[in-house]
């Protein structure tokens, strides 16, 4: 790898200077500045006033913070299980020539190109208590007692939103696994067949271990995505009813931009960052490993 790169004193810096300065000003700098803002009292208009760790003290006593944290956890756990399993299953099913292969793939990809706002609106209509498709279907099946307000029941609403997020995520996971399956040597599969492995055994002991690097990436990206979740909650419930569907990103937005407690909002975002950073490092470590293989 090193031989392919050229030694030069000034050239790389000339190429880097403009993009890197922009990146430092708009991304890297702000990241650090959030730490400072989290230790201030700031309404967004007047200058921030330094107050030390008071925002954090308040945060750790705020019940909404813990509800949000728990909801993010539900999101993470759902995201690293259901879409991963479903995406892998679909990838296995579609990784062969079947009639209408393109149609099947496109159907699962489609939700990925829709914005979360559009998806949130369409699903809010599906969940509409009186006229939505879901409750209409339940009533048709004479399951009236199950035809509830999906977005207004405190114990249901978070799961109802996670279902929507899952619906979008499956296609993405499928793409990654399909790409991973391209790299599986067909010779190995033939060998396992010759050795008398059943289809499931081949999957369990040959294919799945070979896909391990993809699984690591999928799981890490899923965790990071669930910690960033904002749009769906914002469009569908705004965290309600009574904060029961609040997630950290949404909690942060409401505190900062609706209640003008921007210092407090920054503190929430720092917590979000500190949780994410663990997984960002896992991802970077994976990148470093592949670098070494060159």
């Amino acid at each position: 790898m090193e031989r392919r790169q050229v030694l030069s004193k000034s050239a790389p810096y000339l190429f880097l200077i403009v993009p890197l300065i922009i990146y430092l000003i708009w991304v890297v700098g702000p990241m650090f500045y959030s730490f400072y803002l989290s230790m201030t009292k700031w309404d967004g208009l007047s200058a921030p006033v330094f107050i030390g760790l008071r925002n954090y003290q308040k945060l750790f006593k705020d019940p909404v913070f813990f509800v949000s944290l728990k909801n993010n956890l539900k999101w993470v756990v759902s995201f690293i299980t259901i879409p991963v399993a479903a995406g892998l299953g679909l990838a296995m099913a579609l990784n062969r020539t079947i009639p209408g292969e393109k149609f099947f793939k496109a159907s699962f990809y489609a939700p990925m190109v829709l914005s979360f706002v559009v998806i949130g609106l369409i699903w809010s209509w599906m969940y509409n208590p009186a006229h939505g498709l879901l409750n209409q279907l339940l009533r048709m099946l004479r399951l009236d007692s199950l035809a509830i307000g999906w977005l207004s029941e405190k114990n249901v609403v978070m799961w109802a939103i996670i279902v929507v997020a899952t619906w979008r995520q499956v296609g993405y996971v499928m793409v990654l696994y399909l790409a991973g399956l391209q790299g599986v040597d067909p010779g190995l599969l033939d060998a396992s067949k010759v050795d008398g492995c059943s289809g499931w055994q081949t999957f369990r002991h040959v294919i799945f271990p070979l896909l391990a690097p993809v699984t690591v990436i999928v799981v890490v990206i899923s965790i990071i995505d669930s910690l960033r979740a904002f749009d769906l909650v914002s469009v569908m419930t705004r965290g309600g009813p009574y904060n029961s569907s609040s997630v950290l990103a949404n909690f942060m937005y409401i505190e900062a931009f609706n209640n003008y407690k921007m210092g407090y909002g920054a503190a929430i975002s720092v917590i979000q960052f500190l949780i994410s950073v663990v997984f960002i490092f896992i991802y970077l470590w994976r990148v470093l490993q592949t670098e070494m293989e060159y």
Partner: protein, 281 residues
């Protein structure tokens, strides 16, 4: 395998039917939206919900969303924000990717990791400082502010992907050009860029949908309704037409047309971009 041979096995046929069923269920939300948008609100309510047969097909929902709902304004705004951001971020990241892929220098890997790590940040940790920055620069509530943050933030992912792609280009070609007295900028523009086009095409489709679909930055950095892109506009529409689901859904579908268009015609690039981004890492 021919279709006939495929269906000669009963198990395979059964599997196929199961897959067909799952796919249909998957598409139900989209089909429902499509059917809803072409009916009048009264029609749905009176005939007993979305399963009823429509009495008539109407286009008025689209018209209402477009004219009174403001989509005629929001949708062009989305393009005004997305296209410059897309071009700028592709251009700038091709510069930084070239530096990181071709040259050995102190800090190469550190800068690379800065870009890769940045793409995974929760946006919230940038939100308030960027809000303050746009305010200080006089860019709050302007297209320029939004274009700046999209350009900067997407630099990370684009640099990551292009740099990995550029490293697969054999160095000999560029060496030969250098010996012939070609300057580095000409090598970048005339040799590297044409060879990187497949990756840039894949990246462009992906980035187009990402920037076009952004909602968070739009609501943080814009206040003026006349500047809002279609995602933020739809949220406003939802507030205006609270009970009028047919109009809301029609608006949502209209907002989707550009990305669906990209998806239908550039699906291969879109998927390529996604896989390049994740598996090369």
């Amino acid at each position: 395998m021919t279709t006939r041979k495929f269906f000669s096995s009963p198990w395979r046929t059964l599997g196929f039917v199961a897959l067909l069923l799952v796919t249909f269920i998957w598409l139900v939300p989209l089909l429902t939206a499509l059917v809803t948008a072409f009916r009048s609100n009264d029609d749905i309510m009176l005939q007993g919900g979305p399963f009823s047969l429509p009495r008539e097909i109407v286009l008025t929902n689209f018209q209402t969303a477009w004219e009174r709902g403001g989509l005629s304004r929001y949708l062009p705004n989305s393009f005004i924000i997305t296209l410059p951001s897309l071009l700028l971020t592709l251009f700038l990241s091709s510069l930084s990717a070239y530096a990181l892929a071709r040259f050995r220098f102190r800090g190469n890997r550190l800068i690379f990791f800065l870009y890769v790590g940045g793409t995974l940040l929760p946006f919230q940790v940038l939100m308030l400082p960027v809000f303050r920055l746009t305010d200080a620069l006089g860019l709050y509530d302007t297209f320029a502010g939004l274009i700046a943050i999209h350009t900067a933030f997407q630099l990370g992912f684009c640099t990551f992907l292009l740099r990995n792609y550029m490293r697969t280009v054999p160095g000999e070609i560029m060496e030969a050009a250098r010996i012939d007295g070609c300057g580095e900028f000409r090598i970048w523009w005339q040799i590297m860029m044409p060879l990187t086009m497949p990756a840039i095409a894949a990246l462009a489709t992906l980035e187009f949908t990402w920037i076009f679909n952004d909602y968070l930055w739009a609501i943080v950095l814009l206040r003026n309704d006349a500047l809002k892109p279609v995602t933020a506009g739809l949220a406003t529409l939802q507030g205006q037409y609270i009970m009028d689901w047919t109009v809301i859904v029609a608006g949502a579908l209209l907002a989707t047309v550009p990305t669906i268009f990209v998806f239908l015609f550039l699906q291969r690039y879109f998927i390529e971009g996604l896989t390049l981004g994740a598996t090369k890492g």
